[in-house]
Symmetry: C2
Subunit: 304 residues, 2 copies
Protein backbone atom coordinates (compact mmCIF):
# COMPACT_ATOMS: atom_id res chain seq x y z
CA UNK A 1 0.00 0.00 0.00
CA UNK A 2 1.17 3.57 -0.55
CA UNK A 3 2.63 4.63 2.80
CA UNK A 4 2.54 1.14 4.30
CA UNK A 5 4.90 -1.49 2.97
CA UNK A 6 4.59 -5.21 3.58
CA UNK A 7 5.90 -6.62 6.86
CA UNK A 8 9.47 -7.76 7.16
CA UNK A 9 12.24 -7.59 9.72
CA UNK A 10 15.91 -6.87 9.07
CA UNK A 11 18.33 -7.90 11.81
CA UNK A 12 21.86 -6.52 12.01
CA UNK A 13 24.32 -8.29 14.31
CA UNK A 14 28.11 -8.47 14.29
CA UNK A 15 28.20 -6.78 10.89
CA UNK A 16 26.06 -9.46 9.23
CA UNK A 17 22.35 -9.37 8.37
CA UNK A 18 19.32 -11.61 8.55
CA UNK A 19 16.04 -10.77 6.86
CA UNK A 20 12.69 -12.19 7.87
CA UNK A 21 10.15 -12.29 5.03
CA UNK A 22 10.51 -10.42 1.78
CA UNK A 23 7.36 -9.06 0.15
CA UNK A 24 7.36 -6.81 -2.88
CA UNK A 25 9.22 -3.60 -2.06
CA UNK A 26 11.26 -4.91 0.88
CA UNK A 27 14.46 -3.92 -0.91
CA UNK A 28 13.14 -0.36 -1.22
CA UNK A 29 12.74 -0.20 2.58
CA UNK A 30 16.25 -1.63 2.89
CA UNK A 31 17.58 1.14 0.67
CA UNK A 32 15.87 3.71 2.87
CA UNK A 33 17.62 2.22 5.92
CA UNK A 34 20.99 2.43 4.14
CA UNK A 35 22.37 -0.60 6.01
CA UNK A 36 23.69 -2.07 2.77
CA UNK A 37 22.91 -5.34 1.03
CA UNK A 38 26.17 -7.23 0.65
CA UNK A 39 26.26 -8.62 4.19
CA UNK A 40 22.81 -10.20 4.05
CA UNK A 41 23.48 -13.90 4.67
CA UNK A 42 20.16 -15.43 5.71
CA UNK A 43 16.56 -14.90 4.70
CA UNK A 44 13.93 -16.54 6.91
CA UNK A 45 10.60 -16.96 5.11
CA UNK A 46 7.47 -17.62 7.14
CA UNK A 47 5.45 -19.03 4.23
CA UNK A 48 4.99 -18.94 0.48
CA UNK A 49 2.27 -16.33 0.17
CA UNK A 50 3.04 -13.44 -2.16
CA UNK A 51 3.17 -10.73 0.49
CA UNK A 52 6.04 -12.62 2.13
CA UNK A 53 8.09 -13.72 -0.90
CA UNK A 54 7.47 -11.62 -4.02
CA UNK A 55 10.35 -9.31 -3.15
CA UNK A 56 12.83 -12.20 -3.38
CA UNK A 57 13.70 -12.01 -7.10
CA UNK A 58 14.42 -8.29 -6.91
CA UNK A 59 16.37 -8.55 -3.67
CA UNK A 60 18.40 -11.50 -4.95
CA UNK A 61 19.34 -9.43 -8.04
CA UNK A 62 20.20 -6.44 -5.92
CA UNK A 63 22.43 -8.60 -3.70
CA UNK A 64 24.28 -9.71 -6.84
CA UNK A 65 24.71 -6.08 -7.96
CA UNK A 66 25.88 -5.11 -4.48
CA UNK A 67 28.93 -7.33 -4.88
CA UNK A 68 27.73 -10.19 -2.70
CA UNK A 69 29.69 -13.36 -3.46
CA UNK A 70 29.39 -15.41 -0.24
CA UNK A 71 26.43 -17.81 0.07
CA UNK A 72 22.88 -16.83 0.88
CA UNK A 73 20.77 -19.24 2.91
CA UNK A 74 17.00 -19.16 2.61
CA UNK A 75 15.12 -20.90 5.40
CA UNK A 76 11.42 -21.59 5.01
CA UNK A 77 8.59 -24.07 5.45
CA UNK A 78 8.03 -27.26 3.47
CA UNK A 79 7.86 -26.42 -0.23
CA UNK A 80 9.80 -23.16 -0.11
CA UNK A 81 12.51 -24.64 -2.35
CA UNK A 82 10.33 -25.02 -5.43
CA UNK A 83 8.76 -21.61 -4.85
CA UNK A 84 12.17 -19.92 -4.73
CA UNK A 85 13.39 -21.93 -7.71
CA UNK A 86 10.39 -20.72 -9.70
CA UNK A 87 10.94 -17.12 -8.76
CA UNK A 88 14.54 -17.42 -9.94
CA UNK A 89 13.76 -18.77 -13.41
CA UNK A 90 13.96 -15.22 -14.72
CA UNK A 91 17.47 -14.77 -13.41
CA UNK A 92 20.13 -16.13 -15.76
CA UNK A 93 23.13 -15.90 -13.43
CA UNK A 94 23.52 -15.33 -9.72
CA UNK A 95 27.15 -14.86 -8.67
CA UNK A 96 26.73 -16.46 -5.25
CA UNK A 97 25.36 -19.77 -3.99
CA UNK A 98 21.85 -20.00 -2.62
CA UNK A 99 21.21 -22.74 -0.08
CA UNK A 100 17.68 -23.65 0.86
CA UNK A 101 16.75 -25.13 4.24
CA UNK A 102 13.20 -26.48 4.19
CA UNK A 103 11.34 -26.84 7.46
CA UNK A 104 14.32 -27.24 9.83
CA UNK A 105 13.17 -29.38 12.73
CA UNK A 106 16.28 -28.69 14.82
CA UNK A 107 17.69 -25.35 15.94
CA UNK A 108 20.26 -23.88 13.55
CA UNK A 109 23.47 -22.52 15.05
CA UNK A 110 24.91 -19.37 13.53
CA UNK A 111 28.58 -18.36 13.55
CA UNK A 112 29.21 -14.90 12.17
CA UNK A 113 32.51 -13.73 10.77
CA UNK A 114 33.64 -10.71 8.78
CA UNK A 115 33.23 -12.59 5.48
CA UNK A 116 29.94 -14.30 6.08
CA UNK A 117 27.84 -16.54 8.24
CA UNK A 118 28.24 -20.26 8.88
CA UNK A 119 25.29 -22.43 9.76
CA UNK A 120 25.89 -25.39 12.05
CA UNK A 121 23.77 -27.77 14.06
CA UNK A 122 23.10 -26.15 17.39
CA UNK A 123 23.95 -28.70 20.09
CA UNK A 124 22.06 -26.75 22.70
CA UNK A 125 19.76 -23.78 22.55
CA UNK A 126 22.02 -22.09 25.09
CA UNK A 127 25.36 -22.82 23.43
CA UNK A 128 27.30 -19.65 24.18
CA UNK A 129 29.92 -20.44 21.54
CA UNK A 130 27.39 -19.66 18.87
CA UNK A 131 26.58 -16.11 17.83
CA UNK A 132 22.95 -16.94 17.37
CA UNK A 133 20.51 -19.82 17.37
CA UNK A 134 17.52 -19.84 15.03
CA UNK A 135 14.59 -22.05 16.00
CA UNK A 136 11.33 -22.54 14.17
CA UNK A 137 7.78 -23.46 15.13
CA UNK A 138 5.04 -24.85 12.92
CA UNK A 139 2.16 -22.39 12.83
CA UNK A 140 -1.47 -22.68 11.81
CA UNK A 141 -2.18 -20.86 8.57
CA UNK A 142 -3.83 -21.71 5.25
CA UNK A 143 -0.52 -23.08 3.95
CA UNK A 144 2.68 -24.45 5.55
CA UNK A 145 3.96 -21.63 7.73
CA UNK A 146 6.65 -21.37 10.39
CA UNK A 147 7.49 -18.90 13.13
CA UNK A 148 11.04 -17.99 14.10
CA UNK A 149 12.90 -17.32 17.29
CA UNK A 150 16.38 -15.79 17.18
CA UNK A 151 18.40 -16.22 20.30
CA UNK A 152 21.73 -14.55 21.01
CA UNK A 153 23.37 -16.42 23.91
CA UNK A 154 25.41 -14.44 26.40
CA UNK A 155 28.68 -15.79 27.70
CA UNK A 156 28.88 -16.06 31.51
CA UNK A 157 31.26 -13.56 33.11
CA UNK A 158 34.85 -14.75 33.77
CA UNK A 159 35.14 -15.40 37.50
CA UNK A 160 38.76 -14.85 38.63
CA UNK A 161 38.12 -16.05 42.19
CA UNK A 162 36.56 -19.25 40.91
CA UNK A 163 39.48 -19.84 38.54
CA UNK A 164 41.97 -19.42 41.38
CA UNK A 165 39.85 -21.54 43.74
CA UNK A 166 39.78 -24.30 41.10
CA UNK A 167 43.55 -23.93 40.62
CA UNK A 168 43.27 -23.34 36.89
CA UNK A 169 46.65 -22.34 35.39
CA UNK A 170 46.56 -18.76 34.08
CA UNK A 171 47.85 -19.93 30.66
CA UNK A 172 44.53 -21.64 29.80
CA UNK A 173 42.08 -19.12 31.34
CA UNK A 174 41.22 -17.59 27.96
CA UNK A 175 40.63 -20.92 26.24
CA UNK A 176 38.31 -22.09 29.02
CA UNK A 177 36.57 -18.71 29.01
CA UNK A 178 35.74 -19.18 25.32
CA UNK A 179 34.20 -22.58 25.92
CA UNK A 180 37.04 -25.02 25.37
CA UNK A 181 37.53 -28.06 27.63
CA UNK A 182 41.16 -29.16 27.66
CA UNK A 183 43.83 -31.30 29.26
CA UNK A 184 46.73 -29.35 30.70
CA UNK A 185 49.57 -30.81 32.76
CA UNK A 186 47.72 -34.14 32.89
CA UNK A 187 44.53 -32.65 34.29
CA UNK A 188 41.19 -31.98 32.58
CA UNK A 189 39.82 -28.44 32.80
CA UNK A 190 36.29 -27.36 31.90
CA UNK A 191 34.84 -23.91 31.17
CA UNK A 192 32.60 -23.92 34.23
CA UNK A 193 35.76 -23.92 36.37
CA UNK A 194 36.38 -20.28 35.39
CA UNK A 195 32.92 -19.03 34.49
CA UNK A 196 30.29 -17.31 36.61
CA UNK A 197 26.64 -18.08 36.52
CA UNK A 198 24.61 -18.23 33.29
CA UNK A 199 23.47 -14.88 31.93
CA UNK A 200 20.37 -14.15 29.92
CA UNK A 201 20.85 -13.71 26.20
CA UNK A 202 18.67 -11.74 23.81
CA UNK A 203 15.59 -13.33 22.32
CA UNK A 204 13.56 -12.07 19.40
CA UNK A 205 10.58 -13.94 18.05
CA UNK A 206 8.66 -13.47 14.85
CA UNK A 207 5.22 -14.98 14.45
CA UNK A 208 3.16 -14.43 11.27
CA UNK A 209 0.70 -15.59 9.70
CA UNK A 210 -1.22 -17.81 12.08
CA UNK A 211 -3.98 -18.41 14.55
CA UNK A 212 -2.80 -17.99 18.18
CA UNK A 213 -2.07 -21.68 18.84
CA UNK A 214 -0.94 -22.74 22.33
CA UNK A 215 2.54 -23.83 21.16
CA UNK A 216 3.41 -20.21 20.46
CA UNK A 217 3.44 -19.31 24.17
CA UNK A 218 6.34 -21.61 25.05
CA UNK A 219 8.15 -20.82 21.83
CA UNK A 220 8.20 -17.06 22.40
CA UNK A 221 8.56 -17.23 26.20
CA UNK A 222 10.40 -14.26 27.70
CA UNK A 223 11.32 -12.77 24.35
CA UNK A 224 12.89 -9.35 24.55
CA UNK A 225 10.93 -8.47 21.45
CA UNK A 226 7.97 -10.44 20.20
CA UNK A 227 7.10 -9.38 16.66
CA UNK A 228 3.63 -10.66 15.93
CA UNK A 229 0.96 -10.32 13.30
CA UNK A 230 -2.04 -8.24 14.22
CA UNK A 231 -4.01 -8.53 11.02
CA UNK A 232 -7.19 -7.14 12.55
CA UNK A 233 -7.50 -4.43 15.19
CA UNK A 234 -11.23 -4.50 15.63
CA UNK A 235 -12.50 -7.33 17.85
CA UNK A 236 -15.53 -7.56 15.57
CA UNK A 237 -13.21 -8.94 12.91
CA UNK A 238 -12.50 -12.07 14.99
CA UNK A 239 -14.64 -14.27 12.67
CA UNK A 240 -12.55 -13.02 9.72
CA UNK A 241 -9.35 -13.73 11.68
CA UNK A 242 -10.56 -17.27 12.36
CA UNK A 243 -11.61 -17.82 8.74
CA UNK A 244 -8.42 -16.41 7.23
CA UNK A 245 -6.18 -17.99 9.89
CA UNK A 246 -4.91 -14.73 11.28
CA UNK A 247 -4.99 -12.95 14.65
CA UNK A 248 -6.62 -9.91 16.14
CA UNK A 249 -4.61 -7.41 18.16
CA UNK A 250 -5.96 -8.78 21.41
CA UNK A 251 -5.11 -12.38 20.51
CA UNK A 252 -1.52 -11.28 19.91
CA UNK A 253 -1.63 -9.32 23.16
CA UNK A 254 -2.80 -12.35 25.14
CA UNK A 255 0.06 -14.44 23.71
CA UNK A 256 2.51 -11.71 24.74
CA UNK A 257 1.03 -11.60 28.24
CA UNK A 258 1.02 -15.38 28.77
CA UNK A 259 4.60 -15.73 27.49
CA UNK A 260 5.84 -12.84 29.63
CA UNK A 261 7.63 -11.17 26.75
CA UNK A 262 9.27 -7.82 27.34
CA UNK A 263 7.76 -6.01 24.39
CA UNK A 264 5.22 -6.74 21.65
CA UNK A 265 5.57 -5.22 18.18
CA UNK A 266 2.41 -5.58 16.11
CA UNK A 267 2.71 -5.79 12.34
CA UNK A 268 1.08 -7.36 9.24
CA UNK A 269 -2.01 -5.17 9.27
CA UNK A 270 -4.87 -5.98 6.91
CA UNK A 271 -5.17 -3.54 4.00
CA UNK A 272 -8.79 -3.13 5.11
CA UNK A 273 -7.56 -1.60 8.39
CA UNK A 274 -6.74 1.95 7.42
CA UNK A 275 -5.58 3.20 10.79
CA UNK A 276 -4.21 0.57 13.20
CA UNK A 277 -3.75 3.28 15.87
CA UNK A 278 -7.53 3.32 16.29
CA UNK A 279 -7.14 0.12 18.30
CA UNK A 280 -4.06 1.11 20.30
CA UNK A 281 -5.94 1.82 23.53
CA UNK A 282 -7.61 -1.62 23.53
CA UNK A 283 -4.37 -3.52 23.06
CA UNK A 284 -2.55 -1.48 25.72
CA UNK A 285 -5.17 -2.67 28.22
CA UNK A 286 -4.25 -6.27 27.43
CA UNK A 287 -0.50 -5.84 27.06
CA UNK A 288 0.83 -2.39 27.98
CA UNK A 289 4.26 -2.75 26.39
CA UNK A 290 2.95 -2.89 22.83
CA UNK A 291 4.18 -0.96 19.82
CA UNK A 292 1.96 -0.56 16.76
CA UNK A 293 4.47 -1.14 13.96
CA UNK A 294 5.12 1.42 11.25
CA UNK A 295 7.37 1.68 8.20
CA UNK A 296 11.02 2.15 9.07
CA UNK A 297 10.65 1.32 12.78
CA UNK A 298 14.11 0.54 14.20
CA UNK A 299 14.89 -0.90 17.63
CA UNK A 300 18.17 -1.74 19.36
CA UNK A 301 18.03 -4.79 21.64
CA UNK A 302 20.58 -5.00 24.43
CA UNK A 303 21.53 -7.55 27.06
CA UNK A 304 19.52 -6.91 30.20
Amino acid sequence: MPGRFLSSVLIKYKGRKILMDCGEGTQVSMRVLKWGFKSLDIICISHGHGDHIFGLPGLISTLANSGKRNPLTIIGPQGIGSVVKGLLVAMPYIPYDIYIIEDPKLPIGIKMGPEGTDLVTASSINDSNLDMIISTLELEHSCPCIGYSLFIPRRPRFDVEKAILNKVPKEIWKRLQYGESLSYGGKLYKPDMVLGEARKGIKLSYITDTRPIDDIVDFIRESDLFICEGTYGDEEDLPKAIENKHMTFSEAGRLAFKAEVKELLLTHFSPTMEDPYLYEKDILDIFPNTIIGYDGFVKILQYR
Copy 2:
Protein backbone atom coordinates in the same frame (compact mmCIF):
# COMPACT_ATOMS: atom_id res chain seq x y z
CA MET B 1 14.95 3.46 -5.28
CA PRO B 2 13.30 5.45 -2.53
CA GLY B 3 11.51 8.29 -4.30
CA ARG B 4 12.05 6.86 -7.75
CA PHE B 5 10.20 3.74 -8.77
CA LEU B 6 11.05 1.56 -11.76
CA SER B 7 9.78 2.63 -15.17
CA SER B 8 6.42 1.51 -16.43
CA VAL B 9 3.52 2.96 -18.34
CA LEU B 10 -0.17 2.49 -17.60
CA ILE B 11 -2.55 3.29 -20.45
CA LYS B 12 -6.25 3.88 -19.88
CA TYR B 13 -8.53 3.86 -22.92
CA LYS B 14 -12.23 3.13 -23.28
CA GLY B 15 -12.41 1.96 -19.69
CA ARG B 16 -9.79 -0.74 -20.19
CA LYS B 17 -6.10 -0.71 -19.27
CA ILE B 18 -2.77 -1.72 -20.73
CA LEU B 19 0.42 -1.81 -18.72
CA MET B 20 3.90 -1.61 -20.20
CA ASP B 21 6.57 -3.26 -18.06
CA CYS B 22 6.12 -4.25 -14.44
CA GLY B 23 9.10 -3.94 -12.14
CA GLU B 24 8.92 -4.44 -8.39
CA GLY B 25 6.56 -1.87 -6.89
CA THR B 26 4.57 -1.09 -10.05
CA GLN B 27 1.37 -2.12 -8.27
CA VAL B 28 2.14 0.39 -5.51
CA SER B 29 2.28 3.19 -8.11
CA MET B 30 -0.98 1.87 -9.55
CA ARG B 31 -2.59 2.10 -6.13
CA VAL B 32 -1.41 5.69 -5.81
CA LEU B 33 -3.09 6.49 -9.17
CA LYS B 34 -6.34 4.89 -7.97
CA TRP B 35 -7.34 3.84 -11.48
CA GLY B 36 -8.24 0.35 -10.27
CA PHE B 37 -6.85 -3.04 -11.22
CA LYS B 38 -9.75 -5.11 -12.48
CA SER B 39 -9.83 -3.67 -15.99
CA LEU B 40 -6.18 -4.37 -16.75
CA ASP B 41 -6.30 -6.64 -19.80
CA ILE B 42 -2.85 -6.51 -21.38
CA ILE B 43 0.69 -6.29 -20.04
CA CYS B 44 3.40 -5.53 -22.59
CA ILE B 45 6.84 -6.57 -21.37
CA SER B 46 9.93 -5.17 -23.09
CA HIS B 47 12.29 -7.87 -21.82
CA GLY B 48 12.94 -10.34 -19.05
CA HIS B 49 15.25 -8.30 -16.83
CA GLY B 50 14.17 -7.97 -13.22
CA ASP B 51 13.48 -4.25 -13.27
CA HIS B 52 10.83 -4.89 -15.92
CA ILE B 53 9.16 -8.06 -14.64
CA PHE B 54 9.62 -8.64 -10.91
CA GLY B 55 6.38 -6.83 -10.13
CA LEU B 56 4.39 -9.42 -12.11
CA PRO B 57 3.71 -11.99 -9.34
CA GLY B 58 2.43 -9.33 -6.97
CA LEU B 59 0.36 -7.58 -9.61
CA ILE B 60 -1.13 -10.84 -10.86
CA SER B 61 -2.18 -11.67 -7.27
CA THR B 62 -3.63 -8.21 -6.78
CA LEU B 63 -5.62 -8.54 -10.02
CA ALA B 64 -7.09 -11.78 -8.66
CA ASN B 65 -8.01 -10.06 -5.38
CA SER B 66 -9.52 -7.13 -7.28
CA GLY B 67 -12.15 -9.44 -8.75
CA LYS B 68 -10.66 -9.78 -12.21
CA ARG B 69 -12.05 -12.84 -14.00
CA ASN B 70 -11.62 -12.01 -17.71
CA PRO B 71 -8.34 -13.04 -19.38
CA LEU B 72 -5.03 -11.25 -19.04
CA THR B 73 -2.69 -11.23 -22.03
CA ILE B 74 1.02 -10.83 -21.51
CA ILE B 75 2.99 -9.83 -24.59
CA GLY B 76 6.76 -10.03 -24.55
CA PRO B 77 9.90 -11.06 -26.40
CA GLN B 78 11.09 -14.60 -27.14
CA GLY B 79 11.32 -16.55 -23.88
CA ILE B 80 8.89 -14.46 -21.83
CA GLY B 81 6.57 -17.46 -21.44
CA SER B 82 8.97 -19.52 -19.33
CA VAL B 83 9.94 -16.47 -17.30
CA VAL B 84 6.31 -15.70 -16.43
CA LYS B 85 5.60 -19.37 -15.76
CA GLY B 86 8.48 -19.44 -13.29
CA LEU B 87 7.32 -16.33 -11.51
CA LEU B 88 3.89 -17.88 -11.10
CA VAL B 89 5.08 -21.13 -9.47
CA ALA B 90 4.41 -19.55 -6.08
CA MET B 91 0.78 -18.88 -6.95
CA PRO B 92 -1.49 -21.85 -6.37
CA TYR B 93 -4.60 -20.53 -8.11
CA ILE B 94 -5.30 -17.62 -10.41
CA PRO B 95 -9.02 -17.12 -11.09
CA TYR B 96 -8.55 -15.82 -14.63
CA ASP B 97 -6.76 -17.07 -17.75
CA ILE B 98 -3.34 -15.77 -18.65
CA TYR B 99 -2.42 -15.83 -22.33
CA ILE B 100 1.15 -15.30 -23.40
CA ILE B 101 2.11 -13.88 -26.78
CA GLU B 102 5.80 -14.33 -27.45
CA ASP B 103 7.51 -12.04 -29.93
CA PRO B 104 4.52 -11.14 -32.12
CA LYS B 105 5.84 -10.48 -35.60
CA LEU B 106 2.54 -9.01 -36.85
CA PRO B 107 0.56 -6.09 -35.43
CA ILE B 108 -2.06 -7.08 -32.88
CA GLY B 109 -5.52 -5.56 -33.24
CA ILE B 110 -7.37 -4.62 -30.07
CA LYS B 111 -11.13 -4.42 -29.63
CA MET B 112 -12.23 -3.02 -26.30
CA GLY B 113 -15.57 -3.67 -24.70
CA PRO B 114 -17.05 -3.08 -21.24
CA GLU B 115 -16.17 -6.63 -20.14
CA GLY B 116 -12.69 -6.94 -21.55
CA THR B 117 -10.39 -6.70 -24.50
CA ASP B 118 -10.24 -8.95 -27.56
CA LEU B 119 -7.03 -9.42 -29.49
CA VAL B 120 -7.29 -10.03 -33.23
CA THR B 121 -4.93 -10.00 -36.15
CA ALA B 122 -4.73 -6.46 -37.42
CA SER B 123 -5.28 -6.55 -41.18
CA SER B 124 -3.88 -3.08 -41.60
CA ILE B 125 -2.10 -0.73 -39.27
CA ASN B 126 -4.72 1.87 -40.09
CA ASP B 127 -7.80 -0.29 -39.61
CA SER B 128 -10.24 2.19 -38.11
CA ASN B 129 -12.55 -0.59 -36.91
CA LEU B 130 -10.05 -1.49 -34.29
CA ASP B 131 -9.76 0.41 -31.04
CA MET B 132 -6.01 0.06 -31.02
CA ILE B 133 -3.16 -1.61 -32.84
CA ILE B 134 -0.08 -2.80 -30.98
CA SER B 135 3.11 -3.25 -33.00
CA THR B 136 6.50 -4.38 -31.80
CA LEU B 137 10.09 -3.84 -32.89
CA GLU B 138 13.14 -5.94 -32.07
CA LEU B 139 15.59 -3.82 -30.10
CA GLU B 140 19.28 -4.18 -29.34
CA HIS B 141 19.87 -5.03 -25.70
CA SER B 142 21.82 -7.68 -23.79
CA CYS B 143 18.83 -10.06 -24.03
CA PRO B 144 15.80 -10.40 -26.34
CA CYS B 145 13.98 -7.08 -26.03
CA ILE B 146 11.15 -5.46 -27.97
CA GLY B 147 9.78 -1.95 -28.29
CA TYR B 148 6.09 -1.16 -28.58
CA SER B 149 3.96 1.24 -30.56
CA LEU B 150 0.31 1.71 -29.65
CA PHE B 151 -1.81 3.27 -32.33
CA ILE B 152 -5.40 4.44 -31.91
CA PRO B 153 -6.86 4.86 -35.40
CA ARG B 154 -9.34 7.67 -36.00
CA ARG B 155 -12.42 7.10 -38.09
CA PRO B 156 -12.78 9.49 -41.05
CA ARG B 157 -15.66 11.95 -40.68
CA PHE B 158 -18.99 10.97 -42.26
CA ASP B 159 -19.38 13.03 -45.44
CA VAL B 160 -23.11 13.59 -46.16
CA GLU B 161 -22.49 15.32 -49.47
CA LYS B 162 -20.30 12.45 -50.66
CA ALA B 163 -22.93 9.89 -49.59
CA ILE B 164 -25.62 11.73 -51.57
CA LEU B 165 -23.31 12.22 -54.54
CA ASN B 166 -22.59 8.47 -54.55
CA LYS B 167 -26.36 7.76 -54.28
CA VAL B 168 -25.93 5.66 -51.13
CA PRO B 169 -29.35 4.76 -49.64
CA LYS B 170 -29.79 6.37 -46.23
CA GLU B 171 -30.67 2.99 -44.69
CA ILE B 172 -27.09 1.77 -44.97
CA TRP B 173 -25.21 4.97 -44.14
CA LYS B 174 -24.42 3.88 -40.60
CA ARG B 175 -23.15 0.46 -41.59
CA LEU B 176 -20.83 1.95 -44.21
CA GLN B 177 -19.72 4.60 -41.71
CA TYR B 178 -18.62 1.85 -39.34
CA GLY B 179 -16.54 0.15 -41.98
CA GLU B 180 -18.85 -2.45 -43.51
CA SER B 181 -18.91 -3.10 -47.24
CA LEU B 182 -22.28 -4.46 -48.35
CA SER B 183 -24.61 -5.31 -51.18
CA TYR B 184 -27.91 -3.44 -51.13
CA GLY B 185 -30.56 -3.52 -53.84
CA GLY B 186 -28.17 -5.45 -56.07
CA LYS B 187 -25.38 -2.90 -55.80
CA LEU B 188 -22.11 -3.02 -53.82
CA TYR B 189 -21.42 -0.17 -51.45
CA LYS B 190 -18.08 0.55 -49.74
CA PRO B 191 -17.21 2.71 -46.71
CA ASP B 192 -15.20 5.21 -48.75
CA MET B 193 -18.44 6.18 -50.56
CA VAL B 194 -19.62 7.93 -47.38
CA LEU B 195 -16.39 8.77 -45.57
CA GLY B 196 -14.24 11.89 -45.72
CA GLU B 197 -10.51 11.87 -45.88
CA ALA B 198 -8.32 9.90 -43.49
CA ARG B 199 -7.66 11.49 -40.13
CA LYS B 200 -4.62 11.11 -37.98
CA GLY B 201 -4.93 8.77 -35.02
CA ILE B 202 -2.96 8.83 -31.80
CA LYS B 203 0.41 7.13 -31.60
CA LEU B 204 2.37 6.31 -28.49
CA SER B 205 5.69 4.51 -28.62
CA TYR B 206 7.68 2.90 -25.84
CA ILE B 207 11.34 2.07 -26.37
CA THR B 208 13.47 0.58 -23.56
CA ASP B 209 16.15 -0.98 -23.06
CA THR B 210 18.27 -0.61 -26.19
CA ARG B 211 20.95 1.09 -28.19
CA PRO B 212 19.51 3.72 -30.59
CA ILE B 213 19.32 1.46 -33.67
CA ASP B 214 18.16 2.97 -36.99
CA ASP B 215 14.98 0.87 -37.14
CA ILE B 216 13.60 2.81 -34.19
CA VAL B 217 13.22 6.00 -36.25
CA ASP B 218 10.67 4.55 -38.67
CA PHE B 219 8.95 2.62 -35.91
CA ILE B 220 8.28 5.66 -33.73
CA ARG B 221 7.73 8.12 -36.62
CA GLU B 222 5.39 10.99 -35.77
CA SER B 223 4.42 9.58 -32.38
CA ASP B 224 2.33 11.89 -30.27
CA LEU B 225 4.29 10.66 -27.30
CA PHE B 226 7.60 8.85 -27.56
CA ILE B 227 8.49 7.28 -24.22
CA CYS B 228 12.15 6.39 -24.34
CA GLU B 229 14.86 5.22 -22.04
CA GLY B 230 17.47 7.77 -21.07
CA THR B 231 19.63 5.64 -18.83
CA TYR B 232 22.49 8.17 -18.76
CA GLY B 233 22.21 11.96 -18.76
CA ASP B 234 25.90 12.75 -18.88
CA GLU B 235 27.44 12.47 -22.35
CA GLU B 236 30.60 11.20 -20.67
CA ASP B 237 28.67 8.03 -19.86
CA LEU B 238 28.33 7.15 -23.56
CA PRO B 239 30.90 4.33 -23.27
CA LYS B 240 28.83 2.86 -20.42
CA ALA B 241 25.67 3.22 -22.53
CA ILE B 242 27.37 1.36 -25.39
CA GLU B 243 28.69 -1.36 -23.09
CA ASN B 244 25.40 -1.89 -21.24
CA LYS B 245 23.28 -1.50 -24.39
CA HIS B 246 21.45 1.59 -23.23
CA MET B 247 21.08 5.17 -24.42
CA THR B 248 22.14 8.60 -23.28
CA PHE B 249 19.64 11.46 -23.15
CA SER B 250 21.02 12.95 -26.36
CA GLU B 251 20.79 9.66 -28.24
CA ALA B 252 17.11 9.48 -27.30
CA GLY B 253 16.73 13.14 -28.28
CA ARG B 254 18.24 12.54 -31.72
CA LEU B 255 15.83 9.62 -32.34
CA ALA B 256 12.93 11.90 -31.36
CA PHE B 257 14.18 14.63 -33.69
CA LYS B 258 14.73 12.33 -36.68
CA ALA B 259 11.35 10.65 -36.24
CA GLU B 260 9.56 14.00 -35.88
CA VAL B 261 7.69 12.91 -32.77
CA LYS B 262 5.53 15.46 -31.00
CA GLU B 263 6.90 14.91 -27.52
CA LEU B 264 9.66 12.89 -25.86
CA LEU B 265 9.28 11.50 -22.35
CA LEU B 266 12.55 10.29 -20.88
CA THR B 267 12.50 7.48 -18.34
CA HIS B 268 14.52 4.48 -17.08
CA PHE B 269 17.23 6.52 -15.37
CA SER B 270 20.31 4.75 -14.05
CA PRO B 271 20.41 4.48 -10.25
CA THR B 272 23.85 6.09 -10.54
CA MET B 273 22.21 9.26 -11.92
CA GLU B 274 20.93 10.98 -8.81
CA ASP B 275 19.38 14.02 -10.47
CA PRO B 276 18.29 13.62 -14.10
CA TYR B 277 17.28 17.30 -14.18
CA LEU B 278 20.98 18.21 -14.21
CA TYR B 279 20.98 17.25 -17.89
CA GLU B 280 17.69 18.88 -18.85
CA LYS B 281 19.26 21.89 -20.54
CA ASP B 282 21.41 19.71 -22.81
CA ILE B 283 18.54 17.54 -23.99
CA LEU B 284 16.30 20.56 -24.64
CA ASP B 285 18.93 21.85 -27.08
CA ILE B 286 18.62 18.62 -29.05
CA PHE B 287 14.87 18.11 -28.76
CA PRO B 288 12.98 20.98 -27.11
CA ASN B 289 9.74 19.13 -26.47
CA THR B 290 11.24 16.77 -23.90
CA ILE B 291 9.90 15.87 -20.48
CA ILE B 292 12.19 14.36 -17.84
CA GLY B 293 9.96 11.64 -16.40
CA TYR B 294 9.06 11.48 -12.74
CA ASP B 295 6.97 9.21 -10.50
CA GLY B 296 3.26 9.60 -11.05
CA PHE B 297 3.54 11.63 -14.29
CA VAL B 298 0.16 11.54 -16.09
CA LYS B 299 -0.56 12.79 -19.60
CA ILE B 300 -3.76 12.90 -21.64
CA LEU B 301 -3.28 12.33 -25.36
CA GLN B 302 -5.92 13.73 -27.71
CA TYR B 303 -6.61 13.60 -31.43
CA ARG B 304 -4.90 16.54 -33.10
